[in-house]
Symmetry: C2
Subunit: 204 residues, 2 copies
């Protein structure tokens, strides 16, 4: 009789919850939190609203689990940046991974952008905690690389911001990018073009 509150989930619960998350990602990333309705998500997941609410307590909770998972995905590429590796190779790989994410997971990128735009009401603590700590660490690494003459000297924090901004731009502002590039240059190749351009920009 209990709602699925504890972690002991049945097979159906695991499947349906995943189905709902997928549908919610689709809807939330297109319309934002307040712009999305439970009905829309339920329909996208192929079930009725009360049925959906059997699996998630409320709209907020669906969004919360989505954001929680998103942050993992989001921090992963930066975490992989290895102090022991070759600086230029590491930066190049990081840019590549970020551009691939913009291409393959644009919905996640937009969801994240949406949340930050609204002032990050639900993830501010994580930005000030986990994210800041990670960036502090990697900024130090980058600073060392620059000091050793392996990279052009610059502010490592703004260097990271610039990589974030430029790569995510191709997911978040995709409509604008395609509108400006037109049907020819705005085709599938645009991500490869972008990657090449960004490598040149950030690595001389």
């Amino acid at each position: 009789m209990d709602k699925p509150a504890p972690a002991k989930r049945t097979r159906i619960q695991r499947e349906k919850r995943e189905l709902i998350r997928e549908a919610a990602l689709e809807v939330f990333s297109q319309h934002g939190f307040r712009g999305s309705t439970i009905d829309q998500i339920a329909e996208a997941a192929g079930m009725s609203k009360p049925n959906l609410l059997y699996y998630f307590k409320n709209k907020e909770e669906i969004f919360a689990t989505l954001i929680r998972r998103l942050l993992e995905t989001w921090l992963a590429p930066l975490k992989e940046m290895d102090e022991a590796g070759d600086p230029r190779t590491e930066i190049r790989s990081y840019i590549r991974r970020k551009i691939e994410m913009a291409r393959d997971y644009p919905r996640e990128s937009r969801l994240f952008a949406n949340e930050i735009l609204q002032g990050a009401p639900r993830i501010l603590p994580m930005l000030e905690g986990e994210l800041k700590a990670l960036v502090d660490e990697k900024a130090t690494v980058i600073a060392h690389w620059m000091h050793a003459g392996k990279l052009k000297k610059a502010d490592p924090y703004h260097f990271i911001f610039a990589i974030w901004a430029t790569t995510q731009h191709y997911a978040d502002f995709d409509v604008q990018v395609r509108a400006v590039l037109g049907p020819v240059r705005g085709g599938e190749g645009r991500f490869e073009d972008a990657a090449r351009f960004l490598e040149g920009l950030f690595l001389e």
Copy 2:
């Protein structure tokens, strides 16, 4: 007895409409279109909902006038880029202007970002028309500068995208930037730091 449909507006109408636009910018830029209510805007403007609706037919129309004005502001800095000027000076000025806009008009930037994120439902034609035309023109100018050896060679379209992305990042992702930089480096000086970094990035 007529609603303010024609252009002949009274003093009060001009003042109140401006007041509403200001309030609407505040609210829309924080919550997006669907996340904002007429009541919120009315309260921010210090008037009742029916009173607000005396000046604007509906929510959509408030948003429309805001977006229309926004696009002017938005294209202005790029328009000012002068083929006859010194390339490096022109680019530097453009970056400066964009960073100043991120600092002084973050609400406009967020409103714009919000609209694009949702797929630009209301301004797609303008992106494909006016904006594309302007970028095409300026990309040609930049390409000439690069060809003449005045700037490092790169794809001029992605060059422009990168300037947009990095500068607007400081308005749209301000919360994140401040969270990561912390209270010390995240103070007022962050825009100046950003400007210096970006000049270095884009001009060698």
